[in-house]
């Protein structure tokens, strides 16, 4: 099949939104399909949002292709007779996060009107698709609530998860993801002030927010946690990641209301490591079951600290939860074979 994969991107910003495209491209090719990938720039500022949407509508990607798979919004705006959408998130600043610190929409009639225009646009464009899939039940529920669109959950797998394996069990709880305010690495650092065991925390990742990284460094310094909190700042290689996760005690991923379970959760599971998350972390709760394949705590420093201590104090239990996490991947059918079957159906 000749497949066009289209997604939006922000130049020089890498993350899960790109991985899913690159890994899908590679897997489609592995299964013998011909693939063209289109990354289209997109700015979501209210002043130019609708211009950007119109520019997507004017592109014709239907030439010579049997199927369009649209991923990051507003790629679903593209027109194609065989459009399938793998919807990974809304432009949340215009939806559930409107008029919060995460939104740039003016709190005015005009600002809210742009949000209404986007919602109408999204609903119409998603309605054109032959199928709509989401990366989590959380996102699917938002589609139902905001757009009246029914969808099917299609969990994004890791690319070649066999790269990950459990090598050892050291004293570190690792966090491998971009360092951003909503990923709440600051909460993890604050938790380390309250731990009672010799457990350590390693934060790995790049950031587009220098002030947030600065605040994390300052926090470590102020709390005198330099010997127990390790900051691996910057983008780490895949090899390093495999190494860090494979040797750790457990993974921690406790963002605020995330759209999906997040690749960190899946990478940990691939290496037979459990994940600690918080009850308000959103999509992680579709994967993590408290006490079975990870821990779910209150989103507070003290509660997370208690979770860290539990993971350290009972390493046998922690290892067992890691093996259960590995099994959860299969139980949820998080495989590329399943993904391709559904996207190309």
């Amino acid at each position: 099949m000749r497949v066009v994969v289209a997604s939006s991107f922000v130049p020089f910003v890498h993350g899960g939104g790109r991985f899913i495209v690159e890994w899908l491209e590679q897997t489609l090719q592995d299964y013998g399909h011909r693939v063209e990938v289109f990354y289209l720039p997109f700015k979501e500022h209210p002043d130019t949002l609708l211009d950007n949407l119109l520019s997507y509508r004017l592109l014709d990607l239907s030439q010579n292709s049997d199927r369009l798979i649209a991923i990051r919004p507003p790629a679903h705006s593209l027109i194609h007779p065989n459009k399938v959408v793998w919807f990974i998130h809304h432009l949340r600043g215009y939806y559930d996060l409107a008029h919060t610190e995460h939104s740039s929409i003016p709190d005015s009639g005009g600002g809210r009107a742009v949000a209404a225009a986007l919602r109408r646009h999204d609903t119409a464009c998603l309605g054109e698709a032959r199928s709509v899939f989401t990366n989590s039940a959380v996102v699917g529920e938002r589609l139902r609530r905001f757009n009246g669109i029914q969808s099917e959950v299609l969990y994004p797998p890791l690319f070649r998860p066999e790269r990950f394996h459990c090598k050892a069990q050291n004293d570190e709880i690792v966090s491998v993801c971009r360092m951003e305010n909503h990923k709440r690495q600051h909460l993890l650092v604050e938790a380390m002030e309250y731990v009672r065991t010799p457990v350590k925390l390693r934060l790995c990742g790049a950031s587009s927010n220098a002030s947030y990284v600065g605040s994390l460094k300052g926090l470590v310094e102020r709390k005198a946690l330099g010997d127990r909190v390790i900051l691996d700042l910057g983008w780490i290689s895949e090899e390093t990641k495999v190494e860090r996760v494979g040797n750790c005690l457990a993974s921690v991923y406790a963002p605020l209301d995330e759209d999906s379970y997040g690749y960190p959760t899946l990478e940990a599971a691939a290496a037979c490591k459990p994940t600690l998350t918080a009850w308000d972390s959103g999509g992680t709760l579709e994967f993590v079951r408290d006490g079975e394949n990870g821990l779910i705590t209150e989103p507070t420093a003290r509660a997370i600290a208690a979770g860290f201590d539990r993971l350290f104090s009972d390493k046998r239990k922690t290892a067992a939860m890691g093996r259960a996490a590995f099994d959860t991947v299969q139980a949820l059918n998080i495989t590329w074979e399943h993904v391709l079957n559904r996207l190309l159906a």
Binding site: L50, L58, A116, R120
Partner: protein, 430 residues
């Protein structure tokens, strides 16, 4: 949704009563409604209740107009009642509700006040052109009957014809199913009694028929100018018609009059109003309503009212009245249909629902206005003609995204309108 509702609020205003009904439904639908009074002199002691909402002058709220999701401004043909609504025209997220098809009196009031927010190069609009002149500055427009929809089409935004919302107070006494409660045969004209309501022609019609002259008592219920009253009394006296000038009454008294009426005359010549609260109220009360077959009244179903040809001459009125008098059983059936139709059609809940849908369209369309402005300039700058395939692709894509429609020519620039208004895209269909 945050709604700023601009309306006259005083007790005698029918538009205030309409507003009160719709606002209650908007609140029930979850809207956060603020009321702004549009009278030139607003008396807070003489107001409709509006669910006990606080009421301030319209200009107080318009100072913060951009904070609202939609501003709804009511326009009727009486400048002192609606003057302050004109301030809403400065805001894009705004819907004008036009209660009258002809707003000449409003324009006269503006002229007298030397207030000209809608004049075109010093030319004062008249008649339906007043509606058009105001509508072209609205983000969306509502009319209450399709007969003057064309006047609202100057609006670039979404427009809609929504039947007026009305709900009568509960009558003091129930009408009997078969006819009037008391003899003689009472015919009522109510409201502000003026020549437009054709009372002279009704008297001539009764006077020209021996049967009607014998049976009918013609009652004028409402304020009437002394000169008009005098000439009507003279005419009735000459023709031997029993005329009772009841004068101004309060609501319970009016309901009593309607309950005892054999028929109600809602004749108009010419038809100026967008919808007639009088006719609707009479229908809701289960009256036999006689109307001129024109404007709003022409849209009423033929089997719910008695229609007189649009010219509304006295011989046609006589024929209609004789038919009503001679057919009590048919009239009883008509009353039932009129009541059912009016209650279902002129429902405040339906009105609010339609208005909210329109408001959503206005909000979306207004968001696209800056984009359309830029496109109009860009396409013209590239030398792309409106009928080219490229323009069609761009405009077709926009039409699929927003409630906009093509109109006119890109080259027909209008200095009084924003750039997008002279573009082939503007507004949307009803």
């Amino acid at each position: 949704m945050r709604v700023l509702w601009l309306t006259p609020v005083h007790r005698r205003s029918a538009i205030a009563r309409f507003s009160e009904l719709v606002v209650a439904e908007l609140i029930a639908a979850g809207c956060d409604v603020t009321i702004g009074a549009t009278e030139t002199s607003f008396d807070s002691a003489d107001r409709h209740s509006f669910s006990e909402l606080p009421i301030a002058g319209a200009s107080n709220h318009l100072a913060n107009g951009a904070a609202f999701d939609i501003i709804v401004a009511n326009f009727g043909d009486h400048y002192p009642n609606h003057a302050m609504a004109l301030g809403a025209l400065a805001f894009p997220l705004m819907i004008g509700i036009f209660h009258d098809a002809d707003m000449s009196n409003f324009a006269n009031g503006m002229r007298a006040a030397q207030h000209d927010p809608i004049g075109e190069n010093g030319d004062w609009p008249v008649g339906r052109n007043v509606v058009a002149a105001i509508a072209r500055r609205c983000g969306g427009a509502v009319v209450h009957s399709r007969f003057y929809l064309s006047a609202a089409e100057s609006c670039d935004g979404p427009i809609a014809a929504i039947p007026l919302a009305w709900s009568p107070p509960r009558p003091n006494r129930e009408r009997s199913a078969s006819g009037p409660l008391v003899a003689p045969f009472r015919l009522v004209t109510f409201g502000n009694i003026n020549p437009n309501k054709c009372p002279d022609r009704v008297i001539e019609a009764i006077g020209a028929s021996a049967v009607l002259k014998e049976a009918v008592e013609y009652r004028l219920v409402g304020a009437v100018e002394p000169g008009v009253e005098s000439s009507l009394r003279d005419l009735a006296g000459r023709l031997g018609v029993r005329l009772v000038v009841v004068g101004r009454v309060d609501d319970p008294e009016l309901l009593d009059e309607l309950a005892q009426a054999a028929a109600v005359s809602c004749l108009r010549e010419p038809v100026l109003e967008g919808a007639s609260a009088s006719a609707i109220e009479a229908m809701m009360q289960g009256c036999v309503v006689m109307v001129s077959d024109a404007g709003f009244y022409a849209d009423l179903p033929d089997d719910c009212v008695v229609k007189v040809p649009a010219e509304t001459d006295s011989s046609s009125i006589r024929i209609a009245l004789e038919k009503i008098y001679a057919s009590p059983e048919a009239c009883a059936a008509l009353r039932g249909r009129a009541r059912d139709y009016s209650l279902a059609t002129f429902s405040p809940a339906k009105y609010a629902d339609a208005l909210l849908r329109l408001a959503h369209d206005v909000r979306v369309a207004s968001s696209y206005a800056p984009l359309i402005d830029r496109l109009a300039v860009d396409l013209a700058g590239l030398g792309i003609s409106p009928d080219s395939g490229t323009a069609d692709l761009v405009l077709g894509s926009l039409e699929a995204m927003a409630p906009v429609r093509r109109r006119g020519e890109m080259s027909t620039a209008d200095p009084g309108k924003p750039a997008h208004a002279s573009h082939p895209l503007a507004g949307n269909a009803v």
